[in-house]
């Protein structure tokens, strides 16, 4: 073969490789890597900051959207995002955890990519699937502390990381939860959110009992969870209401309607 032709062919191959490598997503050091893009670091904090200064205003009724367990149901999740963006009555969204299937690095990126298409801020809880591999550390890099609380218009939102098996712990950090649930500023409501419902098999009988006891101790009558992939609203123990948020494939969106005298919820089929 003519050497000129071969050099030209080689040069074009090299150029092609350089062109492809210029798109950064294609470089992955490991599916378990914990390398979070700077634009996606500590998103719970940056997204909460977007709620300011409205979040510090005194109470007035508001509505928020609840989503959960998006896993790798990306197409369904995108439809959900489209539906959320078609509404204008929601102040923000809470995702109740399980944003990945195997906590692989790109699954976190893909979640962030789709989630950021939502026009209103999203606060993301940790789920059991998100703790596989290096997921727990990736979550804390990408979203911030896994146990956190914030106030929004005189309502205290307590986000509780109650994952046990995947974090290789005996019990969730109930001490933190107990302190966080204290109504320390005359909040109108204190609303607890956690990925696992207390009746899940990860919870021991003691943990299950304790969870409900904490609800009773702090006079709370609503606890909100993900994990089950389907909608449910029930009172398995005493008078405390447990709301389970469905996964996107059900094509349902839960709207939490926080009113002055009560908290209602709606299940919207879209």
């Amino acid at each position: 073969m003519n050497p000129n032709t071969s050099w030209r062919a080689l040069a074009s191959i090299l150029l092609m490789v350089l062109a492809i490598s210029s798109c950064e997503e294609i470089i992955e050091y490991s599916p378990y890597q914990n390398i979070v893009k700077s634009k996606w670091k500590k998103q719970n904090i940056s997204n909460y900051n977007k709620l300011l200064p409205v979040a510090n205003e005194p109470f007035e009724p508001f509505r928020i959207g609840l989503i959960a367990d998006s896993h790798t149901y990306y197409d369904d999740f995108e439809k959900q995002v489209k539906y959320i963006n078609s509404r204008d009555d929601l102040d923000f969204i809470v995702h109740l955890g399980d944003i990945t299937l195997s906590a692989n690095a790109r699954e976190f990126d893909w979640y962030s990519d789709i989630m950021n298409k939502i026009n209103i801020p999203v606060l993301t809880l940790i789920g059991n699937h998100d703790c596989l591999g290096n997921g727990y550390d990736i979550y804390t890099e990408m979203f911030g502390e896994s146990n956190f609380f914030f106030e929004y218009k005189d309502v205290k939102f307590v986000m509780f990381d109650n994952i046990i098996w995947e974090k290789k712990v005996q019990d969730p950090d109930f001490n933190w939860f107990d302190k966080a649930l204290v109504n320390d500023s005359e909040y109108k409501y204190v609303l607890p959110f956690a990925h696992l419902p207390p009746w899940d098999s990860q919870f021991s009988m003691g943990d299950e009992f304790l969870y409900n006891q904490l609800m009773l101790k702090h006079n709370l009558d609503l606890s909100i969870h993900g994990h089950g992939h389907g909608y449910s609203y029930m009172q398995p123990y005493d008078d405390v209401n447990y709301l389970s948020v469905p996964a996107p494939f059900t094509k349902e969106l839960i709207i939490l309607d926080v009113q002055a005298d009560t908290i209602k919820h709606e299940v919207i089929k879209y």
Binding site: M1, V17, P31, T72, Y74, D75, L132, N134, K168
Partner: protein, 229 residues
């Protein structure tokens, strides 16, 4: 734990360097077609010609099959920030290589370190290079990833089949190498390669969902191969 892994990695790199230098000497010996006396005693013994008589034929052979003929250094490709590989030309078509890769905060910028071991089964598509230098290939890698919370078998407290194992992943790949002949005492060829692999889990999402486009499952690697004489 990280310290131990770091230490192990340093050992592996050190052993790798020692092995490569030892093989260099061996390559030189081969070139001269006689065992050089400056080789380590063990290798002199290993490379000594042996004969075996089968019926009326006398066969002379050397123990050298276990020595890798290819030494690779790779960047990225989902098996670490950098990895070293040792390859064998089993046949002109089938040339597998075993890679050891490492990633950490100081070595690639990941807050968690990962040690990867990968068996890359490469099959070359052509016996003769295209355009004089280009050798396209493809195959399947089996990668063992070792970091926090990866498991081959689920710990006892999980219900059966709660999760799929997340320690071993399969990566089909396609790549190409530009191989040049060099006139070196130890090596007779050097290759620069690049390849695109897709992890099984990502590939599944690329097939299953519209959101994940095929290119979003790909991971690129670039590397060099040195071929022993």
């Amino acid at each position: 734990m990280t310290e131990v892994i770091k230490y192990c990695f340093r050992c592996i790199v050190l052993i790798g360097i020692i092995l490569v230098s030892v093989f260099d000497v061996k390559a030189q010996a081969d070139a001269g077609d006689s065992i050089r006396t400056d080789m380590p005693k063990v290798l002199q013994k290993a490379y000594r010609e042996r004969t075996v008589v089968i019926k009326k034929d006398t066969i002379t052979y050397r123990h050298r099959w276990f020595i890798p003929g290819q030494y690779k250094l790779q960047y990225a490709g989902s098996i670490g920030f950098m990895s070293v590989g040792f390859g064998y030309a089993i046949t002109p078509t089938y040339q597998p290589a075993l890679f050891f890769g490492y990633l950490s905060e100081n070595f690639g910028g990941s807050k968690n370190s990962v040690v990867s071991i990968s068996l890359k089964n490469s099959f070359y598509f052509t016996k003769q290079p295209l355009f004089r230098y280009f050798k396209p290939y493809g195959g399947l890698s089996i990668t063992w990833g070792n970091t926090n919370n990866t498991f081959k078998r689920l710990p006892d407290y999980y219900p059966k089949e709660y999760y799929f194992q997340n320690k071993i992943h399969f990566y089909p790949f396609l790549g190409g190498e530009l191989k040049f002949a060099i006139n070196n005492r130890y090596f007779d060829g050097v290759g620069v390669y690049t390849e695109f692999s897709a992890m099984d889990a990502y590939l599944l999402e690329a097939i299953r969902t519209k959101y994940v486009k095929p290119h979003m499952a790909l991971s690129m690697a670039v590397g060099v191969t040195f071929y022993l004489r």
